[in-house]
Amino acid sequence: MEQFLSASHLVFNVQTLTTILVASAFGLFVGAIPGLSATMAIALLVPFTFYMDPVPAIAAIVTCSAMAITAGDIPSALLRIPGTPASAAYTDEAYAMARTGKGGLAITISLVSSCIGGLFGFAVLMFSAPYLSKLGLSFSSFEYFWLTALGLSCAVLINASRLTKALIGLFIGLLLAAVGTDPLTGTARLTFGSTALLGGISFIPAMIGLFAIPEILRNVRPSKATTIVPVERNPWAGLGRILWKYRQGLCRGSVLGTVVGALPGAGGDIAAWMSYTMSKRFSSEPEKFGSGHPEGLVEAGASNNSALSASWIPAMVFGIPGDTITAIAIGVLYMKGMNPGPQLFTTHAENYYAVMIIFVIANILMVPFGYLALMLARQIFRVPRPMLQSVILVFCILGAYSINNAVSDIFIMIAIGILAVWLEANRVPMAPIILGLVLGPLLEQNFLTSLSITGGGLLGFVERPISVGIAIVTLAMWSVGIVSSLRSRDDPYEAATRNIGNEAR
């Protein structure tokens, strides 16, 4: 109780609450702009968090990501352009509703479902994390090695239809993570004689390069002329009846999203696709899907935000990110000295509870703020794109520069940005790269520590019961992943998310 009160003091102060409001507005704005993703919003926000206390910094990330994903539903419904990849699953459905004069209702369904799903994911996180952390306290370097390997495996295997490219992304991330001075001997690795690289590739320039630069360059191309579908006067009319009617789907979406989100490497995008497909499969009226039927919206809307909350479970408990957003958040946590992992619950429990309170605030604020964004949608869509892109680019330069006051970081950002553009053009997924970059040092450190303990033998890696268990799960996932990779050559999720950038043009 004492810790909870301390957590309340950390949240309910002017700095944190102002940060929540500003980050919410920023997240809503970026999410509502077609073609700009929630991950890019977070990558641009990170340099600002550098100058904040730990709790406001995390508050900014949590609220911004939740708002951006929710706001992504607005251009989905009104323009038929998904604001974020998570909205792509039900864009056609929402737009079909809008064409029948129920665009506002489609958005309020998404808002309230997202809020419920997000709160469900939060509840699971709140109650499961302390128990999992107790288990985590008994972990040694062997368990952490396997857990990190499991996290990286999930990030790769989630892209079963392009396994080779996902693996390529992972090893690029691991190589980028290896740049700099070796922690064991102080030897310079892959620095090519550059002193700027001795400290390794700075996290923030890398994030901006990976996520912001490709999106801006993609959006340099002109967008096609779009017509905004008008919104009805009262978008709340009939909402309660629909949510009650599809309450089963709402629960199913929340549970599925939580499960998918808790898997390292998966995230709201995949959860939304799985939920929409499942909703259609279990529906008593599957023939109505695609013609403006709200059932899929309820389930997928709940799913993408519950996944967002649940992705914090492996992130907070073990320091293994659940998706790209939590991967960035973990970097921020380390930067702030609030290292994620089981110790967080014993040494900084008030910080954990503070993050929990922020989750509740963010999910509740989602409804009024989302409604506000809906009312302002017309104005948001009219923001001149060239101006927006140019200003974002200036923020990219400033964000990369201001962390170490080093021009070299700007060039690191540009180099990684060019690499990301090339990799995206060759359809190499970004998630394994970022997870490799974040988890690479952890994997190497635990591997070397374990190897020192065993005196160079590999059998020691599978001698402890929990490490054997995680190793078996990892290997089983690889077996399933390889089989499904051989069966499926292309998946609808990938095909649709690939379209987002094009539709936004």
Binding site: F48, Y51, T164, K165, I168, F171, L174, L175, A178, D182, L184, T185, T187, R189, L190, I213, I216, L217, V220, R221, P384, R385, P386, M387, Q389, S390, V391, L393, V394, F395, C396, I397, L398, Y401, S402, N405, V407, I410, F411, I414, G417, I418, V421, W422, A425, N426, R427, V428, G440, F447, L448, L451, S452, G455, G456, R489, R498, N499, N502, R505
Partner: protein, 157 residues
């Protein structure tokens, strides 16, 4: 994705991975440790090299009908006009990075904004507003976030 682009990507990645492997495997061993500083990057480099080769083989073996079914993401990507615009933006970023320490933030960002707005096809009103936008950003960073930004320096001239 076309067969040719996968072949090129695979070859480039195999070369990059091979280079990283060779570089890392030349690093000195750590006395008393089972693995040296080069073990991990050498493993990652070798894996990347192998995967690059696998990508080449997969592209080579891909049936022709799959080659024709390039994803919608490729549509228009080959338009040289837009590729040039993107290249100009990248060049502008590099120029901004080079000039920032000498011209300072205000001059560099104003010039950057104006040129990028021209490249992106903005109207003259937007371009005329660039000094105001630069000043606003400068104020946010220096006064609110207390970040010290580079000032104009005559040393270079």
């Amino acid at each position: 994705m076309s067969r040719r682009s996968d072949l090129v990507a695979g070859a480039v990645l195999a070369l990059a991975g091979g280079f990283a492997f060779l570089w890392a495997s030349r690093l000195p061993d750590a006395p008393g440790f089972a693995a040296g500083p080069g073990t991990f990057p050498a493993f990652a480099g070798a894996s990347l090299c192998v995967l690059g080769l696998v990508l080449c083989v997969q592209a080579w073996l891909r049936p022709l009908h799959r080659v024709a079914s390039a994803g919608p993401g490729d549509a228009g990507a080959s338009s040289p006009y837009w590729v040039w615009r993107e290249a100009l933006i990248v060049g502008l970023l590099v120029a901004a990075g080079l000039l920032l320490p000498y011209l300072g933030f205000l001059v560099t960002s104003t010039a950057f904004l104006a040129i990028s707005l021209l490249i992106c096809g903005s109207g003259w009103i937007g371009i005329a507003l660039t000094p105001v936008i630069s000043l606003l950003i400068y104020f946010c960073f220096t006064s609110l976030l207390h970040v010290s930004l580079p000032e104009f320096s005559l040393k270079v001239f």
